[in-house]
Symmetry: C2
Subunit: 328 residues, 2 copies
Amino acid sequence: MATIRDVAKLANVSTATVSRVLNNNRYVNSETKNRVNEAIEKLQYRPNDVARSLFKGNSKMIALFVPDIKNPFFPELARAVEDVTNQHNYTFILCNTDDSHEKEVTYLNALTQKSVDGFIIVSSTITEEDLHHITSPVISLDRKFSSKISSVTVNNRKGAREATAYLQSIGCKKIAHISGPQTASNTEERLKGYLDVIEHEAWFHSNYVVTGDYRFENSYEIAKQLLTNHNDIDGIFVANDLMAVGVLKAAESLNIKIPEQLSVIGFDGITIGLTTTPSLTTIQQPIYEIGSRAAQILLQLIDHPEQKVIQEELEVTLIERDSTKRKE
Amino acid sequence: MATIRDVAKLANVSTATVSRVLNNNRYVNSETKNRVNEAIEKLQYRPNDVARSLFKGNSKMIALFVPDIKNPFFPELARAVEDVTNQHNYTFILCNTDDSHEKEVTYLNALTQKSVDGFIIVSSTITEEDLHHITSPVISLDRKFSSKISSVTVNNRKGAREATAYLQSIGCKKIAHISGPQTASNTEERLKGYLDVIEHEAWFHSNYVVTGDYRFENSYEIAKQLLTNHNDIDGIFVANDLMAVGVLKAAESLNIKIPEQLSVIGFDGITIGLTTTPSLTTIQQPIYEIGSRAAQILLQLIDHPEQKVIQEELEVTLIERDSTKRKE
DNA sequence: CTATTATATGTAACCGGTTACATAACCTTT
DNA sequence: AAAGGTTATGTAACCGGTTACATATAATAG
């Protein structure tokens, strides 16, 4: 690989001048510039980003932490982040944390050693403490770690209230909730939203809430049990779409007709909800927008670290499909 | 951030000695070692990987190119690659190429400037030529670029033959094929496999083959047309699961009963096939294994660049589910 | 008892860029 | 004509590690 010194020698200038041509920042005579560019062309020279990083102290890389890219919610998020960061000539690093605090901390340290310029984090376990020694900006998604960390969130509680109220509005009498894992950041908010609506009902009992793990397989089993134990349930608000699909399949296996006997509503608005039979009613998050806003804000923070904390909250939307039935 | 010089000063040794302690490679007196470690601890010192990279000429990073992470086939692949690379203390970079040659080349160059140590590439458009100036090892998935590039593939043609023959074996008389986009690497092989079985049938006509784009939405439209134009079709081999799901939905909308009137088989074996109603019969690829083998081989090539090309072919498996019906 | 080898550590060059500082020629301005 | 500004370029320090080479002592071999 040709270095800047090779170029300098060939063009008969100093490395400083080559650097100036490359970065197009200081005075360079246009004739000299041509000579340098020719040399660059001839040698097929490409500057070494590592050397540049070392001097500059940055790397033009940003990282995204997600629990697990196999949950279809996250690829879309990742895509948004990648698209925005690419537009700004940043390289994108994806990290699956499996919701493990240890993995998160390991990644945080390893990437800091690589001078990564910023972090976008979907996590439930990271605390302000963990970020204390991290000098590059951090933005959290789905949850606010602290008032000092910027974030992009949706109003999970409001969405959950809307979902539950919708089930009531179409005539459901006994509405159950399958929640996310305790470890997940938004589980609590969605549960609260559900309880806001249902808590004061005479029939309500904590048996109507069961804890899932945001995955399909587990939800299938849980829902089967739930529906077997309580055959009066006629509506379920499920904390995410993936689990809601599990519920659809569970009902199918128990010969419970959806939406005639049971209405199901999910949360997220991922594509899979369109592919099931019946298709899935859900609370849709603006996933791509969440990711791209987060990336934009992060890049802003990288350029202006002095800037104050930005916390944005985006809106969710109810999407009616075939897994819920409106009362005539 | 503390540097190696700060540590050296505090421990009263030279930076060379600190470096030796860090890398645990040359002779260091155990007492000195303790002193250095104490200094490291006290200063919360973390070596700067960028500086190390610059000297060593490597970065401990590997990149994976996929067409689009939103296709659920790729998250699992990505996961496998990340898991393996993490075990070996490499950082994982994910790149969505959108099957665009320009994006691929841009990524290839940008990452080479960052001294990325190796590439795992799922691509149809990259040629030996494009890789000519790339000095770090490359491994291709799903397709062999050339006999000089290592690869991990499955036997697409054999799998497609199996799928088509299976439809015949359960009694389908008129079997159509929805292929992938011309731009995709495996489209051709899967089409060939289909033709191997069907080509000599008296009824066969090129109308029975239509081209999709590996995505759900488009396939839904295509399938509706296909099924409307040819109401004699009783079996479809679809080139991937995502499109096969589109076919299921299209049939549903046309009131065609699956599997009674129409049998559908996909290719890939992604989870979504379990969530549809009916669940999807498919040719399953060992996705995680493909990814982890590719990563392992790549790491091997990084450590031993002199090693000869490795080309592995893995097996696919027919998974019978509810979208195909065995004749009584 | 000398020669050789293993252990231990420091000095300084090196990786490949960037930029502060120095220098010089030329152009304006008063 | 002197002073100040603009344009143009080079020298060398710097970013923070690694390691070849030099040096010195202790241990072992012949």
